[in-house]
């Protein structure tokens, strides 16, 4: 990878963001809209939320839901995926079911989630769990299946019993692909938490969007929530990318632009 100058890494994206904000501001001024807020109004909205103590509370609630649902998906998806990848017969049996369930949007599960858990936190967490489970499961399964036979043979040659072979050879060899799945899953989880909070709960950034719209058409708060969702999503992605730069997994990501 070419080393990039700070100019390219920070200044250029910042300039692009500034240009878009300027464009937005100009468009609001030019159209004299009374519905869509200007950047200043949105900044005011965010300050408002902070004053009422809602900003921190909503961000925290959304992140906690993602942590719970995503964490459960990790706990189920990685072991199950590694197992399926390790046992080709089990994978052949399970794969059609996985491929059938995978394209069903997590949003289609909302009624089911509500029936199962009621209108509460558990329903939202369940939706996040479901949404992040499939990318994790599939990447773990495929990652393990794609481990070159040579690595397994070398591990066996050194006398590793099965369990150690999994832990010391198969899992680390599959890790880059698993991490790719984790990253996709975290993105999906963050998208789904917003949708889930619109329906099932009364806190969080998704709730902020729908509540601001319903209670008094506060579009400054709607857009403020959108901005927060975007910024946090960006930060989450950066966080996962950091993990894939660790030297022990770096080898698996050499072609990937960051």
């Amino acid at each position: 990878m070419k080393p990039r100058s700070p100019l390219e890494a920070v200044l250029l994206p910042a300039a692009a963001a500034a240009a878009i904000v300027a464009l937005w501001w100009a468009a609001v001024a030019w159209t004299k809209t009374t519905v869509f807020p200007s950047p200043a109004a949105v900044a005011g909205g965010i300050a408002d939320l902070a004053r009422k103590g809602l900003l921190f509370a909503y961000v925290r609630d959304s992140l906690l839901r993602v942590a719970a649902g995503y964490g459960a998906a990790l706990a189920v998806g990685i072991p199950l995926g590694v197992f399926l990848g390790w046992r080709p017969r089990a994978a052949r049996a399970a794969n059609p079911v996985i491929q059938f369930l995978r394209p069903i949007s997590p949003l289609a599960w909302i009624p089911v989630a509500i029936v199962l858990f009621g209108v509460n936190d558990s329903a939202a967490i369940f939706l996040i769990f479901l949404a992040s489970l499939f990318p994790i499961l599939v990447s773990a399964m495929n990652g393990v299946r794609a481990v070159p036979a040579m690595y397994r043979q070398a591990g066996e040659n050194f006398g590793l019993p099965r369990r150690a072979l999994l832990a010391r050879v198969v899992f680390p060899a599959a890790l880059p692909e698993i991490l790719t799945g984790l990253r996709i899953a975290l993105g999906v989880a963050w998208i789904v938490v917003v949708a889930a909070e619109m329906i099932a709960v009364n806190s969080g950034l998704g709730y902020l969007v729908i509540d601001s719209r319903n209670a008094g058409k506060r579009y400054d708060l709607v857009v403020a929530a959108m901005l927060l969702i975007g910024v946090i999503g960006l930060l989450l992605n950066v966080l996962v990318q950091r993990v894939s730069r660790l030297r022990a997994v770096r080898w698996g990501f050499r072609e990937e632009a960051s």
Partner: protein, 261 residues
């Protein structure tokens, strides 16, 4: 100009005995016969090259000897004991692609030393890092190394568990020609220092004559042993000596290749 003195390893104990070894693979619509009725004995401490054209089944042979594949018929015995699976006393060295990319040089070389106490483990790692000339690269990851260095890591990883045999499957095939010559010299040095029995698969005639005590020439598929050539030259070998050229050309003829391209 045939030298009367025999090459270093005196006829010793039989290490490896292959008897009536055949291998068939079930193809799409027919059975493919890969190896046919091979018999071979390898002495302890001997360096034997298995030479044959690409796709003749020599890698299959090595995989069977290493215990990765069960043969269709016949037996492989080492020290009188039938081979039923891979064994840390005999390490298979792949092309450099066999190093573990998630481990450092140190981690790779110490991979098979899990049962040793930590200080002993560190000592052995240091010894083999030095033996293959990778001092200063202990903390490097394989993707930060050249092909030749990765190959050294893999050889060191194999040697570190102190096996009595090494199986090498075209180990230097992916290296450039200068690095390849260097690696051959290193392998010979290590073989002489560590007294291992080596089975080395290659399709490179020159390579086999430079390295081996004996060259086992295989036919095209299904592979049979065409001839076993004793290389009665002491190391280091003079690659322009009459005897070297004679042996090399003999094998060229045996395989049915012309002298001119």
């Amino acid at each position: 100009m045939i030298s009367a003195s025999s090459p270093e390893p005196a006829p010793g104990r039989t290490k490896l005995a292959i008897r009536g070894l055949s291998m068939m693979f079930r193809g799409a619509d027919a059975e493919v016969r890969v190896l046919e009725a091979l018999d071979l004995d390898v002495r302890e401490g001997e360096f034997v090259c298995i030479l044959g054209p690409s796709g003749c089944g020599k890698s299959t042979l090595l995989n069977i000897v290493a215990g990765f594949l069960p043969p269709s018929s016949g037996t492989v015995r080492i020290d009188g004991e039938e081979v039923r699976g891979p064994d840390p006393r005999r390490i298979f060295v792949f092309q450099e692609r066999g190093v573990f990319p998630w481990l450092t040089v140190e981690g790779n070389i110490g991979f098979g030393l899990g049962r040793l106490p930590k200080t002993e483990r560190g000592k052995r790692i240091r010894h083999y890092v030095r033996l293959v000339g990778l001092e200063g690269f202990e903390k490097a990851y394989p993707h930060e190394l050249s092909g030749g260095m990765k190959q050294r890591v893999e050889v060191a990883r194999a040697l570190a568990v102190d096996p009595d045999m090494l199986y090498l499957d075209e180990p230097f095939g992916a290296l450039d020609s200068i690095t390849r010559l260097e690696m051959r010299r290193e392998l010979l040095r290590i073989w002489q220092a560590e007294k291992k029995t080596i089975l080395f698969v290659t399709h490179d005639i020159e390579e086999s004559v430079q390295l081996a005590d004996r060259v086992v020439v295989l036919s095209a598929r299904p592979a049979r042993i065409r001839r076993i050539v004793e290389i009665d030259l002491p190391h280091p070998r003079d690659l322009s000596s009459r005897r070297y050229l004679e042996l090399r050309d003999g094998i060229f003829e045996e395989i049915g290749l012309a002298h001119r391209v």
